[in-house]
């Protein structure tokens, strides 16, 4: 049953580049009440859990330890970072509080950056327009028939976060979409 599956990590078509984020670390911050643990998180990390539907980016890319927090549900925020350091810092900062709980999901959740002027057009071919975030938003919804958290990362750039077991499926869908966009452009 093993097919020769795609080991590439970058796909281009229709002016859109899809690229796996090799370094991304993901941790799930769980709580009963965001307000209760906001101060603690802020002191540990320098940022509070974002409001519903929001993505908050902290630090600049390339600067020491940039990280982002995105809203997933009323009891969950995902902390994203390019290295384990911010997540470790948060774990230390939280200590053994009863207010919040940090679960490392790194490796279990994979990231794909979708960038280009037609990145939105690609997302529309994966899922409902109702589930596509605007810049600075994060929405979890159904894309390629699986659950994907999509963040409006930059102008014309989205970060797609997907459970590891669905990564190959999502990539397959994206890759074929990009290939067809490329064919369309060639005509």
């Amino acid at each position: 049953m093993v097919d020769a599956h795609d080991t590439a990590e970058r796909w281009i078509g229709g002016g859109v580049t899809a690229e796996r984020d090799r370094t991304i670390q993901v941790a799930s911050l769980r709580y009963f009440d965001a307000a209760q643990c906001a101060a603690r998180i802020a002191s540990a990390l320098g940022g509070a859990p974002p409001a519903a539907g929001r993505l908050e980016r902290h630090g600049l890319p390339g600067s020491a330890e940039p990280f982002a927090m995105l809203w997933r549900s009323p009891s969950e925020t995902w902390v994203l970072a390019g290295s384990p350091a911010p997540i470790d810092a948060l774990r230390r900062g939280l200590g053994t509080t009863e207010a919040a709980w940090l679960v490392d999901l790194s490796g279990g959740v994979l990231g794909i950056h979708l960038a280009g002027t037609r990145a939105l057009a690609v997302l529309r071919r994966l899922g409902s327009s109702l589930s596509i975030p605007r810049l600075g938003e994060a929405r979890t919804g159904r894309f390629a028939d699986v659950t994907v958290t999509v963040a409006g990362w930059h102008a014309d750039e989205y970060l797609l976060l997907v459970e590891r077991v669905f990564y190959e499926h999502l990539v397959d869908w994206i890759r074929e979409t990009l290939a067809d966009l490329r064919l369309e452009d060639d005509r």
Partner: protein
């Protein structure tokens, strides 16, 4: 041969500099870019294009769009066939090869046409009245062979399809002037507007006439930012304003294989405007199905858009003023108009036909020419029996009035009303979320349609009240488009060969409701879905039962407006994308070690690791034996993993599981059965306590999503006050399980801390450790009955761990083992496999978990159901072991247990069965009625007519005391 190509300037839609050769029934013909297959066939003088569905009558092109009942062809491209394609909406492309359908050996010489001679014995529903003796099966094969239209290929379709989802403030369906006008107005008023147009270019009828207004509107649409989708057919309006359409990309990529063929558009529109126009209603007269009889508007379109004359001498059968406009237009193109035979009295005729002979209050009594019109006989409507007058012609055009295309309005739950004067159904007010403009709203006057459509577009954009349509402008038509009293075969539904007398028959036999009429006569059930027959059918039924057409009723139009390919509806959900396939994080390692992968649920997993000379079965035997004798390595990564955290986590788990989890000390683990509220076992697994308020839950690999969802549902809906959080972490952790007497000997050499040795780490405990700089979580639990370590490792390190473990296990005589070996091992031990040994009726008591339930305090899920009489019935099944009486014969899984020969009442069935390499004998598990009381009894095991005797035994064959678990 009577159609021909008109000279320039005719042909606004064709490009004479781009000739396109194509094949029709094997013959090479030529058309131009911009032709449809139908227009090209007509221009080549082809009259006979197909055969009707029931009687195999010769048929020619009848219409010019979705209403076409006759010109249905198969497209053939090597192995690839596209069945049942409408020639009238198919753009001519390079290399196109079409074949007539439903004829053998050819469309000209069709043996099926002999059915025509039997037509008198084949009225509507004839098959309900005969073929009963001796049995329908005697007749059915022949009837099946006669039926059907095109042929489908059996090779997988290599083309691709995609889906796109967009938003619009206003979505306008129909690219005619009404649609354009509405779209331009909406866009100019600031609305994000999408215009869907079925044709390759917008403009509609005025467009192919070269009208200046259309050009101006198109320019405005571009400036106002209207998104124009051409070759896009809106086929459905669904719940909450979802508009669905398919865009054909095939014409843009002719001849390519494996290209994007169609795109499905899902448009979430705040408002939908329908501007789909109207279909022409045919006249009803004997022989109205002959090649050469066609819709008047279609002939006009072919002449102007495609420079195709459908004949040289035309008679127009009329019931509407539009006949005269067509007459003038065709005459200007050089086609002789012999006469307009108008069914209406002179005072109802609102148009003037200068220089055209008008026979008012007349109708056609007979069409001359079987395979092509050569003339017709016309009579006075009051004297249908008279000899009448013969008119020589090669074309008879039908102008019976119009039927507004109310399909989308009706799909959107809009109502209809009958317009007596014009004899048509029009929308009765707007539908929820959908407004009609232009001809489909019953607005036929051009300027009124333009103005109203613009007003609608603007109002929708700005949120104003939408004005009602100024219905009218079509002139007068009679409800009946035939003259009473003429005899002969008058066709109502051309494709299905439903005649006027079939409607009378249905009325006489009491199939009078519109749905009974459709179903009994099959009118409106063909591939055109009655676009030319529905109104005539309602009028005829009304006549037969003395009711107005509106009283007969209207059928509710449902999607699709026009047939939609399965491929377009499915989009990219084909192959592995049909359902995500889950692969192991270290799938490559297993492949390198000879794994044979199979699907278990959605997981691709090693069933075993057969060597070159081994079958899977013998590999599984070897692997199982190796685990019992030395050590085996298993990839358990799919095992469900859920973390539960919070002050009330223990209390919560007590409510979820049959067992009591709150009594676990940190570091301890316990087996648990999970029930649903009906008391039925739905999953099992191990619950381990990591800390006071922190648990690690293993579920089955198939059950993890279901289990996590159930936990959330109970927490959120029933126990919202419990402080517990549920986080599934399956994907985060790989799992390498090492099992066998040499399990620790293996692990001791990979650098694990000595505290994990079996002497210090007990069976059913959990502990965190470190492997090569990464955290690991080790659970001492066993699915094999041997000393086992389940090592959970960060998923990206799974392969590293496997390699290290393997390097240590191989020298000790170990092997990797797959699911098949695991199944042998757990059956030997009598370990339950939920979903295999249990089904959706199995209660805990049935598998020996009844004891202790009474003592538990918590009201766990499903508990109350276990107290019901049926759950306490002593006759219930019980999981037991079975061994064959002869000690050799394997008992087939699924075999039924009974002592009497079948047919008889079954007492149970075999659920798991294997040859045990350790015992050198077969072992099996079974569910058996009152099984617990029947140890030692001999029972009959029945499999597909064969009986095997077996003895009921306890479920555990190997190490029933469980000593081996401890190493």
């Amino acid at each position: 041969m009577s159609g021909f190509r008109l000279p320039e300037p005719h042909g606004t839609r064709i490009d004479r500099t781009r000739p396109i050769p194509f094949l029709f029934n094997g013959k090479v013909l030529a058309g131009f870019r911009g032709d449809t297959l139908a227009s090209a066939l007509l221009a080549n003088g082809v009259r006979l294009v197909g055969r009707s569905y029931k009687l195999h009558r010769a048929r020619g092109v009848f219409g010019c769009g979705f209403e076409e009942p006759n010109a249905i062809v198969d497209l053939v491209d090597g192995e690839r066939r596209t069945p049942d394609v409408r020639a009238t909406t198919l753009e001519l492309t390079e290399g196109l090869a079409a074949q007539s359908v439903n004829c053998w050996p050819s469309v000209g010489l069709d043996f099926g046409a002999v059915l025509g001679a039997f037509a008198p014995f084949l009225p509507a529903g004839f098959y309900y009245k005969t073929f009963m003796w001796p049995d329908w099966h005697w007749f059915e094969p022949a009837i099946r062979w006669m039926a059907g239209l095109g042929r489908t290929s059996l090779a997988p379709d290599r083309d691709r399809y995609e889906e796109i989802c967009v938003d619009a403030d206003v979505a306008v369906v129909g690219g005619g002037i009404a649609g354009l006008s509405a779209a331009v107005a909406a866009a100019e008023a600031g609305a994000a507007t999408t215009l869907l147009c079925a044709a390759p270019a917008a403009g509609g009828a005025l467009g192919w006439r070269g009208d200046a207004t259309v050009r101006a509107l198109l320019a405005k649409a571009g400036r106002a930012g209207v998104t124009l989708l051409t070759r896009t057919v809106a086929f459905g309006v669904y719940d909450h304003g979802l508009l669905c359409a398919t865009e054909s990309l095939a014409a843009a990529t002719p001849g390519t294989h494996g290209a994007l063929r169609e795109r499905l558009w899902k448009i979430r529109a705040r408002s939908i405007v329908s501007a789909q126009g109207a279909f022409e209603r045919p006249m009803l007269f004997p022989g109205n199905d002959r090649p050469g009889v066609m819709l008047a508007g279609a002939a006009e379109k072919y002449a102007h858009a495609h420079a195709t004359a459908c004949g040289r001498r035309a008679v127009i059968a009329a019931n509407a003023d539009s006949a005269y406009a067509v007459a003038r237009s065709l005459r200007a193109a050089g086609i002789e108009i012999v006469a307009v035979v108008d069914r209406r009295p002179p005072e109802s005729i609102g148009a003037h036909a200068e220089g055209v002979r008008c026979l008012a209050h007349h109708g056609i009594r007979q069409v001359i020419g079987g395979r092509g019109v050569r003339g017709c006989v016309v009579v006075d409507a009051d004297a249908p029996g008279d000899r009448g007058e013969r008119l020589d012609c090669d074309l008879i055009l039908s102008a019976g009035g119009f039927a507004p295309a109310v399909h989308l309005h009706s799909q959107a739950k809009g109502r209809l009303r009958w317009l007596e004067d014009a004899a048509m159904f029009v929308p009765d007010g707007a539908a929820p979320g959908l407004h009609s403009v232009g001809a489909c709203a019953g607005v036929f006057a051009r300027s009124a349609a333009l103005e109203h459509a613009a007003e609608v577009g603007r109002s929708l954009a700005l949120g104003f009240t939408v004005p009602p349509p100024p219905v009218g402008g079509a002139g007068r038509s009679l409800a009946s488009s035939r003259i009473p009293g003429v005899r002969g075969k008058i066709f109502l539904d051309l494709q299905n060969d439903v005649t006027v007398s079939d409607v009378s028959l249905a009325a006489a036999e009491n199939y009078r409701s519109v749905e009974h009429l459709k179903r009994y006569t099959t009118t409106g059930m063909a591939t055109d879905q009655g676009k030319t027959s529905n109104v005539n059918a309602l009028v005829l039924m009304g006549e037969a039962t003395q009711r107005a057409p509106a009283e007969v009723g209207t059928t509710t139009f449902r999607p699709p407006f026009a047939p939609v390919s399965f491929g377009a509806l499915v989009g990219r959900r084909v192959g592995n994308r049909y359902r995500p396939l889950k692969r192991l994080p270290a799938a490559g390692w297993h492949a390198e070690h000879g794994a044979l992968f199979e699907l278990f649920g959605n997981w691709s997993r090693p069933a075993g690791y057969p060597r070159a000379d081994e079958s899977l079965e013998s590999a599984a035997q070897r692997e199982a034996e190796t685990v019992r004798g030395a050590v085996g390595v298993f990839d358990g990564s799919p095992l469900g993993k859920i973390e539960i955290w919070g002050a009330d986590a223990a209390e919560f788990l007590d409510l979820m599981y049959v067992g009591t989890m709150s009594s676990l000390a940190p570091g301890q683990a316990r087996y648990g059965l999970l029930l649903n509220e009906h008391g039925v076992i739905v999953d099992d697994g191990v619950v381990a306590r990591l800390g006071t308020g922190h648990f690690w839950v293993n579920t089955t690999s198939a059950g993890v999503e279901r289990t996590a969802a159930a936990f959330e549902e109970w927490l959120q809906c029933e126990y919202p006050n419990l402080r517990a959080l549920v986080t599934p972490v399956t994907s985060r952790w790989g799992n390498v399980t090492v099992s066998g007497p040499k399990a620790w000997a293996t692990l001791a050499t990979i650098g694990l801390d000595r505290r994990f040795a079996p002497e210090t780490m007990q069976h059913m405990t959990i502990a965190d450790g470190e492997f090569d700089g990464s955290p690991v979580r080790i659970l001492r639990a066993s699915f094999t009955g041997e000393l086992s370590y389940e090592i959970n490792v960060p998923v990206e390190r799974t392969r590293d761990l496997l390699e290290r473990v393997w390097a240590a296990a191989a020298p000790l005589g170990g092997c990797p083992y797959g699911i098949e070996a695991l199944e042998i091992l757990r059956t030997e031990k009598g370990y339950l496999h939920v979903g295999v040994d249990t089904d959706g009726t199995t209660l805990p008591g049935d598998v020996g978990f009844a004891r202790g339930l009474e003592r538990k305090r918590a009201n766990f899920v499903g508990r109350r159901s276990l107290l019901r009489p049926a759950a306490r019935n002593p006759g219930r099944s019980r999981l037991v072991g079975l061994k064959p009486a002869d000690g050799r014969t394997r008992l087939p899984v699924g075999a039924q247990i009974a002592n009497a020969p079948p047919p008889t009442a079954t007492e149970g069935h075999v659920t798991s069965s294997h040859w045990s390499p350790t015992l050198r004998a077969p072992v099996a598990l079974a569910m058996l009625a009152r099984g617990a009381e029947r140890l030692g009894e001999t029972v009959g095991v029945h499999h597909l007519g064969q009986r095997i005797d077996a003895i009921v035994v306890a479920t555990s064959w190997i190490d029933p005391e469980g000593k081996r678990l401890h190493g």
